[in-house]
């Protein structure tokens, strides 16, 4: 313990160690906050996609890009009939409602999409609606009439007939200054979508929500399924760190135990362990893992188990063996034997603890390699099917050709976090190596 404290004091002399430690502990705090703020089941539910995200824009960039742009990209505006001044008059056969959904649009860029969500309450007969679009300069664009189901979505941006009439995509044409279809420009001012509804039952009611999807969203942006990347960026941290740590602990401890047992028992056990290690060293590990991932299971736990199993007889055994061989002959081991300590006790209590401190740097340096291994598998499409991870964001980005379409944020953010994690542990590991390996200390 005192040795560890001393090592810690020495670590402070290395700026890279301080930086690494800061990064790692910062990430750790962030991970803990994440796990508390977005509990595991909630994160999985969010990442499954679908309904929670329907009012989010797709392919939206993170909000911080506005800091680097001359023309600000719009955020999403949601106008609900609950906040609107709904006029209602009773007719002999029901009710007539006029819902003015008005909003100010002053951004320099067009929205990415416009949708109208409807919630109707009725017994048998669906309400009928008439939609009109009113621009700040007094034009009126009829958007047609239709009946409303109980929960309905009017995809104004998908209206091909409207696009034909406007000569532009609807979400651009409806907001554009008239007269310049080649170089459309936003006409700033107060717009209104007027919903005139005929309800055919006295008890019937209608709620309408107009969503003008922006081009930026949140601090992380969204993906092709409208999911907020922030969820996966945040949750990727705990997953990556847990995976890296567990894999590193699993492989190091098993390898160490096997190595120590080989040294202690010697003879054919040692020889067998050596041969198995040589076989294992040239087994193509990644192909085997890809096979298991494709053919059997993509669960992160199965992958972890495979990594640990393939890592038991790793090249590290050779190193541990070299370190443990002199220890085996040490007088204190002889003393332990003299008082009658069993094999297991000698291995676990006398041999392994002796070399543990020397293994810490290697152990820390192992973590990033497993973090990247998990990301590698996810990028190949073999990530855990339900977990939000950094590698899976990269995989989605690649399968949607994010770089080709210019969605750079989609690749850069998870990659930066991966790099930060990897770098944090690697810097710490390098510094620890210099602390624990006296020969390196002055180099």
């Amino acid at each position: 313990m005192r040795r560890l404290a001393g090592a810690f004091r020495q670590l402070r002399r290395y700026p890279s160690a301080v930086a690494g430690l800061t990064i790692v502990s910062g990430l750790l705090v962030l991970n803990i906050i994440t796990v508390i703020a977005i509990p595991y089941p909630r994160a999985l539910e969010l990442w499954r996609g679908g309904e929670p995200w329907e009012m989010h824009p797709a392919y939206a960039r993170p909000s911080w890009v506005n800091a680097f742009r001359r023309v600000n990209l719009p955020r999403t505006r949601i106008v609900s009939s609950r906040d609107a001044e709904v006029r209602s008059e009773t007719l002999p056969s029901g009710r007539r409602m006029v819902i003015p959904l008005a909003f100010d649009y002053t951004d320099g860029a067009f929205p990415s999409e416009i949708n109208l969500f409807l919630n109707a309450r009725f017994e048998t007969r669906e309400p009928f609606l008439q939609l009109t679009w009113h621009t700040p300069d007094g034009r009126t664009v009829p958007l047609g009439g239709r009946t409303a189901a109980r929960t309905d979505r009017v995809s104004i941006s998908q209206d091909r007939a409207l696009a034909g009439r406007l000569g532009l995509e609807p979400h651009e044409g409806l907001l554009a200054r008239p007269g310049a279809p080649d170089d459309p420009e936003v006409l700033p001012g107060r717009y209104e979508l007027r919903v005139e509804a005929l309800l055919f039952e006295a008890e019937a009611d209608l709620e309408a929500t107009l969503v003008i999807y922006g081009q930026v969203h949140g601090w992380a942006g969204t993906d092709h399924q409208r999911r907020d990347l922030g969820v996966a960026l945040l949750w990727g941290g705990p997953v990556a760190m847990a995976f890296g740590l567990l894999a590193a602990v699993g492989t190091t401890l098993t390898t160490l135990f096997i190595g120590a047992a080989g040294v202690w028992f010697g003879g054919w056990i040692d020889a067998l362990i050596q041969r198995v290690t040589e076989v294992n060293m040239i087994l193509p590990a990644l192909p085997i893992m890809i096979m298991i991932g494709t053919l059997y299971s993509q669960s992160i736990w199965v992958m972890l188990a495979v990594i640990v199993v393939l890592g038991i007889f790793s090249a590290g055994i050779k190193m541990y063996r070299a370190m443990l061989l002199p220890i085996r002959e040490a007088p204190y081991i002889e003393a332990a034997r003299a008082y009658g300590a069993g094999n297991l006790r000698i291995i676990l209590r006398y041999m392994i603890p002796r070399i543990l401190p020397v293994l810490i740097p290697g152990f820390v340096s192992l973590i990033p390699s497993f973090v990247f291994l998990e990301a590698s598998l996810a990028v190949l499409g073999l990530g855990d099917p339900v977990l939000p991870t950094w590698g899976k964001i990269l995989h989605d980005a690649q399968s949607q050709s994010a770089l080709y379409h210019g969605h750079y944020y989609w690749v850069v953010q998870p990659a930066a976090l991966l790099m930060l994690t990897g770098l944090g542990f690697a810097m710490l590991g390098f510094a620890l190596d210099r602390v624990f390996n006296p020969r390196l200390r002055d180099l």
């Binding site: 890279s16 690494g20 040692d270 020889a271 050596q274 041969r275 040589e278 076989v279 060293m281 040239i282 087994l283 193509p284 590990a285 990644l286 192909p287 085997i288 890809i290 096979m291 298991i292 494709t294 053919l295 059997y296 090249a315 050779k318 061989l325 340096s365 990033p368 390699s369 990247f372 990301a375 590698s376 990028v379 190949l380 990269l394 690649q398 770089l403 080709y404 210019g406 750079y408 690749v411 850069v412 990659a415 991966l418 790099m419 990897g422 770098l423 542990f425 690697a426 810097m427 590991g429 390098f430 020969r439 390196l440 180099l443």
Partner: protein
């Protein structure tokens, strides 16, 4: 490799010592070959069992055969008039013929050794779904088409990486403590990220932001002829090579430099320096020569690591090599191609190890065949 141990007496340079040296290397070579052969055997067998899902793939295949045969018999107008029993018997009979043709009537364990024997002889059989660009269904044709792409890319990358890092490390170990040296030490942790990771960034910057290089593929489409082909190939190789170089260079320089520094503080180097030998001479004779065996080892280990990482790098750069092939084969559940790629990977790894061992035995006069006895 437990075969190495310091010898009590160094073999002298006399003619008799030389022949003994040769015999020593020969025995050593044979022993290593045998060990590597067993290793490849085990690796390939594991791959066969995994790729067949422990025999489960065969059950699927049998269902497929049955439905195919049933379809054919029911659809054949010649059998329309047969009574149902007779028709079922016919189906049964035909399924049996197919099963025997594919040897599915034998237990999986027995067949798996048959597969192993075929695979080890590089008799790789026919693909189930995939075919080579020329249209051949022979797995060996498919693989041979891809092998040069992988070997070319990764061979070039490792050679560049190896020579530039050793050279840079020698320079840095001479100027140890300089700003450049400290910079390399500081950058060493960046090697925690694998090549494909840097590849993604390079594609982002040099293929999309500044479109200087293609974002993937091996040559332009359609492939040009003659000299233009080579130029196109080199142009496409720049980014993947840069990615591998970036991910490996700093850690290699760092570890070599440390290694050289430790070795240049040995007594015999001090002695040589005291004798007044030139620093070039000291470097070559007293620092580089004794450190050569470990350098070669770690070069080979780097190569092995690169083979493993090739699947991802090729995937990211859309490089038509073995890695991409294997990944596609796994996606299409084309068992013969999967097994064949693993076999080729295992052979490549074994060949790398073998060359390493031979080099080691040649470079390190202390290597003896004494086994693990102490």
């Amino acid at each position: 490799m437990a075969l190495r141990e310091p010898a009590e007496s160094h073999p002298s340079a006399s003619p008799r010592g030389w022949t003994r040296n040769l015999r020593r290397v020969a025995v050593f070579t044979l022993a290593r070959l045998a060990a590597l052969f067993v290793t490849v055997l085990i690796g390939v067998y594991l791959a066969i069992v995994t790729a067949n899902m422990g025999g489960k793939v065969d059950e699927l295949r049998e269902v497929q055969i049955r439905s195919g045969v049933a379809e054919a018999v029911r659809g054949d107008p010649g059998f329309q008039d047969l009574p149902a029993e007779q028709r079922n018997a016919l189906i049964e009979q035909r399924v049996q013929i197919q099963r025997e043709r594919l040897r599915l009537d034998q237990p999986f364990i027995v067949r798996s050794f048959g597969y192993l024997y075929q695979a080890m002889r590089l008799n790789l059989g026919r693909a189930e779904h995939m075919h080579s660009d020329r249209g051949s269904r022979q797995v060996s044709a498919i693989i041979l088409e891809r092998l040069p792409a992988t070997l070319g890319l990764f061979g070039t990358a490792s050679l560049i990486l190896f020579f530039s890092s050793v050279a840079a490390a020698l320079v840095l170990s001479r100027r140890y403590g300089s700003r450049l040296d400290r910079m390399v030490v500081g950058l060493a942790p960046t090697s925690a990220a694998p090549g494909w990771f840097y590849g993604m960034f390079l594609i982002l910057v040099f293929a999309f932001l500044i479109p200087a290089f293609p974002s993937g593929g091996m040559v332009e489409a359609p492939p040009p002829e003659g000299f233009a082909y080579v130029r196109s190939l080199l142009h496409h190789m720049v980014l993947p090579l840069a990615a591998m170089f970036l991910s490996g260079i700093f850690i290699s320089i760092y570890s070599w430099r440390t290694f050289f520094l430790i070795h240049s503080s040995e007594d015999y180097v001090e002695m040589a320096r005291a004798k007044g030998l030139s620093s070039r001479m000291i470097e070559r004779r007293y620092v580089l020569r004794p450190t050569l065996p470990p350098i070669v080892t770690s070069f080979a280990l780097m190569l092995i690591g690169m083979w493993g990482g090739s699947i991802l790098l090729e995937q990211v750069f859309n490089w038509p090599g073995l890695g991409t092939l294997m990944f596609r084969a796994i996606g299409q559940r084309d068992t013969p191609v999967i097994i064949a790629s693993v076999v080729i990977f295992a052979y490549l790894l074994a060949a790398t190890m073998f060359i390493l061992d031979i080099l080691y035995a040649l470079l390190d006069p202390r290597v003896k065949l004494t086994g693990g006895r102490r």
